[in-house]
Amino acid sequence: MGRDEQHSVDPVSPQLDKSKEGDRVFAWIFTLLPGVMAIWLSYICVGSFSKISASNQWIETRCRVIQSELGVDDEQRKVIDIRYSYAFNHQNYVGDKYDLGDKATAPRLWKQRVVNRHAVGCETVCFINPQDPSQAVLEPGWTTNVVNSESIFFLWCGLSWVGFICLVVRLRQVHFEDDTKPEDQGWEPHLALSSQDSGSGVGLLPLRPERPKFQETLRRAILYGPVRGLGVAACVILFAFVFESGELLLLALIFFLGLLCDMWKMGYCGLKVALWRFCPRPKIRTNTATPNVNGPLEVEWSLTGGLPTVRSMRIVLKGREQTEVEKRKRSKILRETFAEIVIVNTANPFEMTGGRQKVVIPAGTVPSMEFRKSRIAWSIDVELDVAWWPNPVASFPICVLPAACKELAA
């Protein structure tokens, strides 16, 4: 069969399954509510973070410390009780903020050092908000106090929720993939059989798509990233509080940043997974998952979700050489396509929704093979051209047997 040869297509109308709609609505609510909460928390944090960053631009002015001691707050926690006087635009003010962080959460030793450094009567500099001169701090920007504030915790909570929801969504997806019976996928088995073309008289088998790489990366980042980063950070924070050491807290921050790196990976892959989930989903059924070279392969497809946005669809049977090479201690998979048999190439929405086509795997082609680090792999690839969206490619692996095996089996 030629590469560009066109075929007539038997359209088949898939029946959408309504029984899972309740589950889907619940899943959406469960996903959206914490998502909104996460966005809200992140918004608060970003607001306070921008103020902290802006304080670096505040006006530097001389001031005199008039009170400096370690006091206690309403919850009997040690706080820096500092007051200083300064003049701005011929007006006198008294400031009581050391920085823009939480007064109580920093280590006690660090607070004691601050008090010792700013003895009563000494002259130092403070930073004044030009828009509100009554607002001033002795140390602008990111301080130990700020890093220890609740804002970071809120941000972490928000991002964790996003990660958790990604995990839940992923687990639900796996659950559906494992448990779904062909009848549950919106297909009636008798519809899958062609009255004149199937020949074999056997029902078509649903193929399972290959899992995209970013899904696996996300799964690993969710499962191992927070555990690794948080575990180490928690241990270091514990030691920091026991020994009241600000340096150890800095070390904890480094581990925390390591966790954020995994968060970045989670965010990137999570976004791709989310985009993937909103893409139209192709399903492929074949008369056999192990066709023979020079033998027929009957392919039936259906496409659900987001159909109006799909501009065209191409289903191709592809044979690939695949080998794993190592470069600078990192393995990379190289692929070369050696056979491409177009099963359908259409822009007709009705044909895209569902159809059936029969192809013959050309004689003399190489069947599936697997070696230590290399393989000859065959798959049915569904390539969609989606408007205003990344074009998804779903790959359904199949095992092509040599022509001789059929004779042996017979």
């Binding site: 050489e321 695949q322 080998t323 090479v325 190592e326 190289l334 070369e336 050696f338 056979a339 004689a363 003399g364 082609t365 190489v366 069947p367 093979m369 070696f371 230590r372 680090k373 290399s374 000859i376 040599p402 022509a403 001789a404 095996c405 004779e407």
Partner: protein
């Protein structure tokens, strides 16, 4: 000292899958050999990877051979796998004459595939 030669009759080493290969092995040795084996073998070569282990498809064994002699045998090629040449992976056929217990060997490459040639996976575009 040992001299081993192996040749196939006619066909210029080109065979279709399923065809019978007529092999002639010749040896000359100044010490006694436990056995000799004529083998029809294939192996794969992949990028950045050592050639794979030899797969013995068919063989013909001569126990306690003379110090010098010839042996002719006919070994059938299977229908699959046939030879192919890819950008990343290649599968090659050959015949080997191997001595025992020293495992001295001599090899002759064969072209096996539809039309007597290994399949080229990526023909020149």
């Amino acid at each position: 000292m040992i001299e081993l030669t192996i040749a196939v009759e006619g066909k210029q080493n080109q065979f279709e899958p399923g065809e019978v290969v007529d092999i002639r092995a010749k040896w000359k040795c100044d010490f006694p050999l436990a056995a000799l084996e004529v083998r029809l073998v294939w192996h794969t070569e992949c990028m950045d990877e050592e050639p794979s282990a030899i797969v013995i498809s068919q063989s013909s064994r001569i126990e306690s051979p003379e110090a010098e002699g010839t042996h002719r045998c006919q070994l059938p090629l299977p229908e699959t796998p046939f030879g192919f040449l890819g950008k990343l992976i290649s599968l090659k056929w050959g015949v080997e004459l191997v001595t025992f217990p020293d495992l001295e060997a001599v090899r002759l490459d064969l072209s096996v595939g539809p039309g007597g040639k290994p399949r080229v996976l990526h023909p020149a575009e």
